[in-house]
Symmetry: C2
Subunit: 349 residues, 2 copies
Amino acid sequence: MELNERKLQILQAIVADFIYSAEPVGSRTISKKYDMGLSPATIRNEMSDLEEMGYLTHPHTSAGRVPSDKAYRLYVDKLMGSSELAEDRKALIEAQLQQDAAELDDTIEKAARILSDMTNLVSFAITPSGRDDTLKYINLLPVDERTIVLMIVSDDGQISNTAVKLSCGYTEENLQLMSKVMTHNFKGKSVNDILTMNIIDSLKTDLSAMEGLTGDVVPSFLQTLEKMLDVDLYMDGYTNILSMPEYSDVSKAKSFLDTLKAKEHFTEVLVNRDNGLIITIGDENSELKDCSLITADYRVNGKLVGKLGVIGPTRMKYAEIASVIQYITDNLSKTFEITGDMTDDREHQ
Amino acid sequence: MELNERKLQILQAIVADFIYSAEPVGSRTISKKYDMGLSPATIRNEMSDLEEMGYLTHPHTSAGRVPSDKAYRLYVDKLMGSSELAEDRKALIEAQLQQDAAELDDTIEKAARILSDMTNLVSFAITPSGRDDTLKYINLLPVDERTIVLMIVSDDGQISNTAVKLSCGYTEENLQLMSKVMTHNFKGKSVNDILTMNIIDSLKTDLSAMEGLTGDVVPSFLQTLEKMLDVDLYMDGYTNILSMPEYSDVSKAKSFLDTLKAKEHFTEVLVNRDNGLIITIGDENSELKDCSLITADYRVNGKLVGKLGVIGPTRMKYAEIASVIQYITDNLSKTFEITGDMTDDREHQ
DNA sequence: GTTAGCACTCTTTTGTTTTGAGTGCTAACA
DNA sequence: TGTTAGCACTCAAAACAAAAGAGTGCTAAC
């Protein structure tokens, strides 16, 4: 059977209607609301065909039609078109993102909040991983008799520091020498490389004169590097789903939210997701098969990549949401480019 | 009317039963389950009295009795006794808290998680404010041509640092001088004092020779101090309420969760709350009048005070929950005392 | 003072009927 | 041959009715 122009039109009408109403769509509705000069009976015939082709389903005999995942996919790819974001929304996004956009983390968090507010869905965002950051230099600084600070500066200007409690004393000279050796050894190497290669051993021979100090500093150094690998995950708008008919049943809502709460796993899903504006629908997802995800990446300094997106039932306003996400991520990338040489002006853990 | 021994016994039975069943308690139930040698009729008479006295209410004629806030208050004060935590739970708490208890923040977060898991309620915790921390010294360190790090060390060993992007160049001597002057001016002063008193002006005269540098550093300094004031709020176990009969209605659950999400306000409530094990019931709360809160404080280095607690419907297992909270906060305080001189071994923002 | 007995109340449960949205099929129409 | 009116049929949801059951309050007897 062929998917002719009329079938597409009808399918589009059904999907669009269902997205808004959350009710199975009947032939009368289509015939009346979207007047395409066809009687309900004709539309019924077409619907019957569309069902046979796998685009529609039927909760029960006397109910209207509901789009299948396949229909949503077609809708997203061919039918929905792209929706231009209203000017006032654009302005709102810009205003809110710009407003004290000092720290990356805070801004990302804010972006997620805006996103969930505008879409009424659960939003999430991950920060870029520092795994490919290369080190610029390492500095050890005295604090008090038994405490020093380990400071790691990376080439793109990010600074991480940790206080290190020493088990033995130290001299300023020791610190300086050690800073020098460490910088020499690790300059230009990426965080990931340092952690996977066993560069630490070489350090021990270079600094054999001060074993005690090395023994205290190295674990902190590694720990700090590990932390630079970490990707933070923010979520917002959890409660939005509680006003959606799909989750009017508390136990459904609970199991959905509990799944989302297993953050670690979710982070992984996002990290492995392609860049660009990505929409996955229903069973295209490895998990949460009755949900859709829309994500897009954002750039920091034109390079490091984080992601931002929403999750919700397959019945969602794809076009509208996609345009919101796209606009926010574009804006984020711009923000962290314009203020490019200001992005250092924040603390990194 | 007098609240005699028998009335108390009956009231206790009713409250205890209702806490577990969430169903209005009838006279038969009390007579059978808690055999105190009285017929349902007698108990009915007593119940009627208790209702008149304001301890019980009546959803409708043919329903059992439900405890009022007043009854819970009496129950908590006089009737419930104290429940000793089971040994395996104690062990579990200790094991989980001890396990890499490196950073205060992480540990607090973990404590909140344990708490919500054990109580099946929403838990929350606030970290101590740094408002009364006194400064030990301030250090400015070179990073690159246009960037320095501002490091603030407080007397109890906490370290905060921020990268400062400069609008002009600097020399090492400048930094050292400025570090010295700032340390001299602010050593021994509390964060709060520095922020309220206008000490900044004096700094400008002392360092008039390097206006540019001062102009860049002072805002960052203030900003960092502001941050030290901040109290972080963690919440966990949001979804627990979705399995409670009180919130089987999605819209009720949503409005409860939305109220909790207004974090800022909630933080304030907690900060202003008394120390010790505090239980507030129903309309004793200024907000969320159909909920109860149980909180306790924990100490860090024997001094700084954070708080940990749960929130849920007035029908909660007060004794059990109180003992869990008490045990966790005791343990937290102990953890951050034993490793007393190790608590510096973490980063502070 | 306690309790058995009983009428009464009111929610919950269960069953029944009605309604109405929507389909599928057939037959007529253009 | 495609379109449509008409109609029987289906099924969930709503409305209604009846029954069950939990529990009370009161009275009278112990």
